[in-house]
Symmetry: C3
Subunit: 345 residues, 3 copies
Amino acid sequence: MKLSELAILTGGTIETGNGDTEIMGAAGLDIAGPQDVTFIANPKYTPQIAATNAGAIFVAKEAQINREDIAVVRTDDAYVAYTMALRAFHPDPPVTSGIHPSAVIGENSKVADDAQIGANVVIGDSCEIESGVRLFPNVTVYDGVSIGKGTVLHSGVSIRENCQIGAKCIIHNNTTIGSDGFGFARTPEKKWLKIPQVGHVVIEDDVEIGSNSSIDCPSVGESRIKTGTRIDNLVQIGHSCSIGEDSLICAQTGLAGSSEIGDRVILAGQVGIAGHLKVGDDASITAKSATSHDVDEGAVVSGIPAFENRDWLRSTAAFRRIGEYAKIIRKLEKRVSELEEELKK
Amino acid sequence: MKLSELAILTGGTIETGNGDTEIMGAAGLDIAGPQDVTFIANPKYTPQIAATNAGAIFVAKEAQINREDIAVVRTDDAYVAYTMALRAFHPDPPVTSGIHPSAVIGENSKVADDAQIGANVVIGDSCEIESGVRLFPNVTVYDGVSIGKGTVLHSGVSIRENCQIGAKCIIHNNTTIGSDGFGFARTPEKKWLKIPQVGHVVIEDDVEIGSNSSIDCPSVGESRIKTGTRIDNLVQIGHSCSIGEDSLICAQTGLAGSSEIGDRVILAGQVGIAGHLKVGDDASITAKSATSHDVDEGAVVSGIPAFENRDWLRSTAAFRRIGEYAKIIRKLEKRVSELEEELKK
Amino acid sequence: MKLSELAILTGGTIETGNGDTEIMGAAGLDIAGPQDVTFIANPKYTPQIAATNAGAIFVAKEAQINREDIAVVRTDDAYVAYTMALRAFHPDPPVTSGIHPSAVIGENSKVADDAQIGANVVIGDSCEIESGVRLFPNVTVYDGVSIGKGTVLHSGVSIRENCQIGAKCIIHNNTTIGSDGFGFARTPEKKWLKIPQVGHVVIEDDVEIGSNSSIDCPSVGESRIKTGTRIDNLVQIGHSCSIGEDSLICAQTGLAGSSEIGDRVILAGQVGIAGHLKVGDDASITAKSATSHDVDEGAVVSGIPAFENRDWLRSTAAFRRIGEYAKIIRKLEKRVSELEEELKK
């Protein structure tokens, strides 16, 4: 691809360098070669510019590059431009349409002619698999499931009965969608009576879910993951939860049942959310934190239980010294008692 | 089902309303329609009674319902009665007995005539699969495994060599039973020498295990999950653990090796239990907590490391203000020094 | 095996007992019978020696055994000797070479004649499966993967495109190697634009990975797990991470992207490591801790965020009493104010 084409594709403008230069790939500052485009987004990495072998670089409005041998493409957001370039150099592999002879397809299921159904895939009854869907080997789809255009399910994924998967989703290996919610009524004899879990999960369009994650169905109704949301590996989403649009849920985070997460929420790694809560739009919960209360729109919270991040930072700094403070307090008590004695005299 | 039949089934008594009314389903206050029965268990939801469209409602002894158009069924426990109704409306699907032609069954394995063995299931040698068992597609059962009457294994489940699964269990998708315990001896050269893990896992009757969980086998002997226990998704049970009866282990909880959990214990989400511990009967550990010590019978503990929940609540409340306290302590030190100076004069 | 042979095998010396005694197995003090060898490594278990039925015992240099009926084998490390004995009594099962007729093998893939390829295994194109490899049923291997001599992949494992697995590795059930790293660029419209993840994972020789774990591939380049490292169940390793040799990563630990873990590092259960960090050789992070900073070589750290373990122990002890301290501080404030008033008079 010519540099000039790349600039058009990414909405950038060539500031220095020849638009006819051939660019063959995109890579980080440390790996990029003379035919690669790289980027600088974080000023922390500015010193690496002196040493990079890249042929071209995406830079944001304010950045200065002191290398005359590197073509400079100025953009609004260098990281987004770099991602667009990387996507252009690594397009999705073509769909190899057809059903592998070892795949098993149930009754009354429709599979689009140009879908790709891998070896040993099992699809139940009354399913609908749309155009361009790719099911990798050993995927299991239960009865009554629909899978929208262009969605990819990787090997080992299980989609349980009646779940609806939208278009252009990616679900990575060994993830389970629609297993039974963890719902039991405790009898007077302290036994756990299973509450039937006959609802289903709806995954809207353009959702990506990592490997080995679990998204449960509810007793009645639905659990829903909205358009544009990204979920990482080993994540637990309990029954009846709803996750808004364009949210980011990092690895090993867990949601108990019936919580409602807003749009553009960020839950960092290993976060916990108790049941029946609301997390407002644009809120963030930092890594390893857990909340048992609602979180306001736009809030950033931390800790177990979580509270305002700024206060938490101050508390954790003090926490390191509470052993010390305890000593000081005991000394102060003694000194005050002595003063009191002294004054009584 | 007639309301009168439902009352008999759930052990309730019709207080108002016609016993001949047809009830077609059970649902929550917000979703239920005129032919559904609903319930009120938590007084928090009392305001929703005014707006519900339900035709009938289960209520506990003490509750008052001010809606003459809704049939009232009084019961000991409204939530248990509702669950019983939901179970009556959603019975387990019938077993479709037979072995799918793509399934592979090893030598000397017995599969009951009325078991359901799905597509691409693989069963090893010398296994015993009892009556009414349902193995969904892509389940793998290693050699020497027994699976008791009416148990369900969902797609992607792996049962390792010689494990014993009881009757009426449900194991959800992609869960692993009997993978090797994490046991190594460290050599003088600081290498980890694998300790053979040749024990097995015993799951007793009526146990439910969520999706993507791991229960390890021990080096010798057994790991055991007792009757009536419920385990959620993404749970880790280390080698040689024993979990008592009717316990509840919520998502993403992890147990290191050789711990012994009592009966009716509740481990909330993301809890951690160190190795070689005892957690007494009826104890609870709250979400995101971890214990490195034994927990007494009936105790409720919290925190990392965990201690008595009541104290932990007080400590976490104070934790939010320790930055503030640190300031006060420093000021007090100064004031006390000034007083001491003053008195010396 | 004769006791004398066992002594030679484990590098021990028979102190008391007949070298011709037949030893049939190895087991813990509480389980071992007259034909078993047992061990004592932790003085805590010394009282159990009086009651054991073992026929022989491995003991370290300093330990004393007051049982004349038990053969004593003195060794440098009783636990390592016991492990070596257990390994001798439980050798790896023989490889049953051959490709099951239900397995599906892609184009241009080489499978060694003496590899064992189980039922319903699917291997992609251009793979290389070396001698003595055992793939259990329902394993999926994508295109371009290599698997080294003697490696075992258990049922449900997925190896994604172009990953390299070394020799003598063991990967337990339902684990995913090489799923896409969790990398997105946020657009000005606050959408998450997927960064192509076209790198791969390299697992070196003699690595063991537990069940239901996820190891992601990077956008470009590699994620690497070095020789001799042991990884437990439900572990998350993000894109571009590197784990050194002979490290131990316990269950439910998670690493965000681009972190570099040294050699012989121990990460206990449920630990979290933020992105772009370095954890030095021989460092340990205790259970349930999380670090957002680099960790020095040999350091032992704890807490969220983690700091020196010794200090953390002191802080957590004081934490239990901070409610109390808060009260004392308030009282001290009052007493100091009173003293100040008094002195003003």
